[in-house]
């Protein structure tokens, strides 16, 4: 059974000009020990999905449909209190800016032990031991000495490690990491990536890695879900999606990432920009930027096609067309 199972999730924002649907019919699941990368442009709805899972959608945003299951238990519409318990005991959250996740008034040791004691029956000394063990696990040198330091005494990379230690306090089965490396320097970014990978492998934590950086996904994730304008457009094993992207958006995205040693004067790019939520076109949301549209693309939203391969899902009418043609050919 998957640790996290999201099915047909929709998130909307009621405004006075009508309801904006930010995420539409999104389904994905993450197994224990697996890292699922969720990638998309800013405003695509990737962070909203992560926030919905942990019940931290900012009002007036709300889940308008679908279910979120954690280890089989439906947590979609839990009360705030119940959600807080689930968040504390089973889900660890890592945000982009480590400074906002830590309380500047308390030592990191105190923040860690507090969190541990809230959710676990341990003595004060036991909690301290556990906190120190966690700090060394996330790669903080001399954790006994750093235990009584305040957040401002840490560098950016070390702070993000502390945040990860906090997320790990209660042995979560799921970690939601929202742009965990974006605010960090490249050399530190690589260290945090390695740490996330280690946690998934050694502790069997299911991880949802939300980021805009395909490079980070390529190095970290097992599978990747590509989101465009609130809809899942392609999902599959990282290597498959990166090496042979099948949705025109994914293809364009992969092409437009500059690569070392490419030596091109002009980069391939996708014209235009992602539509705003209130101006999403009818049919496939990518149709204004797509170079190979069919009539259908302007009228109907393409469904996620799973017929070809259970592991690979693509929402594009072109591919459905090709399948059909193949089938006719066989017949």
């Amino acid at each position: 059974m998957a640790v996290l199972d999201i099915s047909d999730l929709s998130i909307e924002f009621p405004t006075r000009r009508g309801i904006l649907s930010a995420v539409e019919g999104l389904s994905l699941s993450i197994e224990a020990g697996e890292i699922l990368g969720v990638v998309g442009e800013s405003g695509a709805g990737k962070s909203l999905t992560g926030n919905a899972v942990v019940g931290l959608l900012e009002p007036p945003g709300r889940v308008s449909g679908g279910t979120i299951r954690l280890n089989g238990e439906d947590i979609t519409h839990l009360s705030e209190n119940a959600m807080r318990r689930v968040r504390g005991a089973q889900i660890g959250v890592i945000f982009q800016d480590p400074l906002t996740s830590l309380d500047p008034l308390y030592t990191i040791g105190r923040q860690l032990t507090q969190t541990i004691l809230t959710h676990q029956k341990l003595s004060a000394a036991g909690a301290r031991d556990k906190a120190i063990q966690l700090l060394s696990e996330v790669g903080i040198p001399a954790p006994e000495r750093r235990f009584d330091a305040y957040p401002h005494e840490f560098s950016g990379g070390m702070r993000q490690r502390v945040v990860i230690a906090l997320a790990l306090c209660c042995d979560p089965c799921l970690i939601i990491a929202d742009e965990p490396t974006t605010a960090l320097d490249v050399s530190v970014q690589a260290q945090i990536i390695d740490l996330l990978k280690k946690l998934a492998r050694e502790k069997g934590v299911a991880t949802m890695l939300v980021t805009h950086d395909m490079g980070v996904i390529a190095e970290t994730a097992d599978r990747v879900a590509v989101i465009y304008s609130g809809r899942l457009v392609e999902m599959g094993k990282v290597r498959d999606v990166i090496d042979t992207p099948r949705h025109p958006y994914t293809r364009g995205l992969m092409d437009s990432i500059p690569q070392i040693g490419q030596n091109l004067r002009t980069l391939p790019n996708i014209e235009g920009a992602m539509p705003r939520l209130n101006a999403r076109p009818e049919g496939c949301a990518f149709n204004p930027r797509c170079t190979q549209t069919l009539d259908r693309c302007f009228r109907h939203v393409p469904p996620l096609d799973t017929t070809a391969d259970e592991q690979r899902q693509v929402a594009c009418w072109l591919l459905t067309e090709q399948e059909n043609r193949k089938e006719t050919a066989y017949a």
Partner: protein, 331 residues
Amino acid sequence: MPEQVAVQVDSLKVYFDVSPPLVTRLLNKLPRQYLKAVDDLSFSITKGQTFSLVGESGCGKSTVARSVAGLCRIHDGQITINGTDADLPAARQDQRDAAEQVQMIFQSPYASLNPRWRVRDIVAEPIRAFKLARDKADERQQVARLLEQVGLSASDGEKYPHEFSGGQRQRISIARALSSRPKFLICDEPTSALDVSVQAQILNLMTQLQDELGLTYLFISHDLAVIDHMSDWVGVMYLGRICEITPKSELFANPRHPYTRMLLATVPDLQGKSNRPTITGEVPNPITPPTGCYFHPRCPHAEDRCRSERPTLQTHGPTRVACHAVQEKRL
């Protein structure tokens, strides 16, 4: 045709006063403290080429950009901008000023445009400052042409910045920079706030404009793939010093300085290579930098000499490197 030097920077020093407040300093008998943001930096840019500075946050690359632009008080050193075009008889002072001036493209597409101004006024601001238009009609025509040149339409001039997406705003920023017909542009992380698919559009626009108008760029970025795509020459900066200046091809094919090697190793790779060397440590506090070579605490090749003596830039083939290990042929 001999290569002309467009920009020459000689032993540039930019220090920031980070002393505690006067009273505290007097009470505790503390000395004044300086942050050496840029410490004895020299480079030159050939006309029509792109020189890039790369490094992690806090290495001083943006400070160099701002100093060259004249936005930062420099402590010592010389900056020569040789923008006067030979084919332009610079009779009027205005025109000479305009030719010698520097324009800049900034990182944030949000903070770089005055939200209260119409786009046509934003783009016309430099035209007015240097009196480059004969009359209102001429000005309007120039603005329209500039907007079209950067891929917007003339009617976009009537709108306000908030009506545009991040990529479009960056285009407006480029139109403004070009409106006073500079020969030299400073680009400070121009795409790091943009989505990948939009980044490619802006990078393409910049290379296209460089080819059409013969522009010289000083390009600042932390993204090595973008640097590789844009540059002719690259300077790698660490804690306010340049540790390696090299032609772009050499940088990626034949990196010399251990820090350059480390940076290259951190680039997240779409191929998902896993045999990356482990990277340790973070950039030290620039107020109290290490002795000798600033990189020695993180350097796997450091020896006693590196801890005590500051290396200077030495020529090795096409490259100039500041490293004792390279000089002693240990590396």
